[in-house]
Symmetry: C3
Subunit: 260 residues, 3 copies
């Protein structure tokens, strides 16, 4: 098992930096998601760690989102395990007691965007070639309701409605204008800025900050917890459709051609 | 029965253009609403039709909103039938599976504004003399909760709270700034722009786009469906009050004087 | 008992001006809150009064928020009475049938900010030295859910989430940019502007405006009403913790040092 995610702790400040390193595009495979969740759990339980900066070790890409190969031609058991891992990752990240800062140093479609949206603060490299968004509709699939809830909590109902229906990938400047990311900085300043933002958030008393975060996010977290099995069933029934399998295969073909 | 609405289908692109043509001001009478709903239903059931552009065939006015004569001095039965037709129109339009684009080529108060708000995208002629808003409070009446819900989904809670309490009619530039309309273009470019926006939305796979739209709008649609009879009763009890009848009569007198 | 709040009615226009006058910083003591609620109740029941402008009679401060001495080293009975008075004030102000305009002529942290947020319109002196915000987290405490609900209704979920977690006090220009206040004017024009805004809101028929306001605010008001006793218990259990008492004492020490 390759080290998909790399968690490095910076001792004195209590801040971990987690770098996604799963070539070629940090796609969220079952293996990657499992390792990501375990890393988050370890940091969460480590009293020395108060915050985590999430970024990519690969050039030009933050994360390409859910690994489509996990959704193509697999068994019901596999789909179940995979989807539970996606849910688990989000429940841990969106509900984290740590301060979470996304340093988005590349493109970040679909599940990659969800990871950024689930953090407390999003800084993106100000490169108009990098884009971010929940573009599921472009692939003929539908973002789950909790992706949507997370998105609405960040950008509001109208921007989410339009962006989700169009499956938009927003170039960094547009993403900033829409409020999808909080700040743009030159790529070489990204980690420095992330550390500064982290320091600002860590200046608050942990307990009060954590209770406040819970107050803001509990309704949306509880909704998935209450409908978790139903959500898995929906995913399986959707992904098992021949029309969807065809769409996903066509999309993968397109990606392969683009690459070669 | 005069043709209040005119539905014309453009064969190849799968886009219908619906032009309101009920002089003098496209007010939403029982007859107009019935014809509008039937037209929407026909287009919805026509597999060749994937989108509809809604605009006005009259100069300077998109729609003046609910026809006040339907609310003055009529029977309970009439009020019931009228209000059910208003609900029906909104349920069809806000819940439409088609891509709906409003090409707002004139002023659009109250119910006219609701029609625009219920579409997927709103383009307005950039004429500051044209205004749009839910101005019910100005007439001494209250926008129904589902008008409000639709409004909040577009502009957010604060802008809706202020605009509804003041019964504001926003000139086009202000409406754009508030997010009430998505885009302003010179009046002569309105239909061209609407067609371009439609093409962008139709580039998405229908099924994914429709499910996404449903996910965004279902909560608000369900709320009226669950309280439909109660909402009719509220309307009747409100409109039957002598004070309200007096307000509406005064408003109609004012409109008549303005006209002459 | 000193006159903490001073209600003066301007006969002809039906507008009351309420000036906070509880030196040194208009902190919301049990006595102040009680007097404030009684004043609001009297105005509410006075048919001649249709609107109230709330401002401060002291320089540089609108209100410093909840009086921390009421939360330090007191009995359970006292905490209960105090918290009920905070709730009562908010229920009256946020649910008022009058038009309420906050003329924020100084800094307005925590409970002071809540008072401004609960009005229909907020005008602030455009002095960057004056700041406003729900900064509870800075003190190691958590804003109650109904402070949060009121805040979200004004600025939306994302801005509220960030501002509450950071316990931000926003300088007037930033507060305006975030939508926390509606307008900035030079301090000497504040009351004139407040009167003009009031006149604009009073031009609407009272009944329609009041029903519209209720429609917008009822869900959030009902939520406290339904959980009022639970909310009091939460406050008591929180404020009774030794760690919280320590935080509050430290904060009071800091304020004393700052002053001397």
């Amino acid at each position: 098992m390759a080290a998909a995610t790399l968690a490095r702790r910076i001792g004195r400040s209590g801040v971990a930096v987690m770098k996604f390193k799963s070539p070629p595009v940090n796609s969220l495979s079952l293996e990657f998601l499992t390792e990501f969740s375990i890393s988050l759990e370890k940091l969460e339980n480590n009293r020395a760690c108060r915050g985590v900066i999430i970024t990519s070790a690969l050039p030009k890409i933050f994360s390409s989102g859910l690994d489509i190969t996990e959704m193509c031609g697999k068994s019901i058991e596999h789909y179940t395990e995979f989807w539970r891992a996606v849910q688990e990752m989000w429940l841990r990240l969106y509900g984290s007691n740590m301060v979470t800062v996304a340093a988005v140093n590349g493109s970040s479609p679909a599940g990659g965007c969800l990871i950024a949206l689930s953090c407390d603060y999003r800084i993106m490299a100000e490169n108009p070639k990098f884009s971010i968004g929940l573009n599921e509709a472009q692939l003929g699939i539908v973002a789950p309701f909790w992706f949507k809830d997370t998105f609405v909590n960040v950008v509001g109902h109208r921007i989410a409605e339009r962006s989700l229906q169009l499956g938009s990938l927003h170039p960094a400047p547009e993403a900033h204008k829409l409020g999808l990311v909080d700040e743009l900085v030159p790529e070489e300043k990204l980690m420095e800025k992330a550390a500064a933002v982290m320091a600002q958030w860590l200046a608050l008393p942990d307990h009060a900050r954590q209770l406040t975060k819970t107050m803001m996010r509990k309704a949306v977290l509880d909704r998935l917890v209450a409908h978790r099995e139903e959500d898995i069933k929906n995913f399986i029934s959707f992904v098992s459709k021949e029309s969807i399998q065809k769409s996903l295969r066509m999309y993968m073909e397109m990606l392969k051609k683009k690459k070669s």
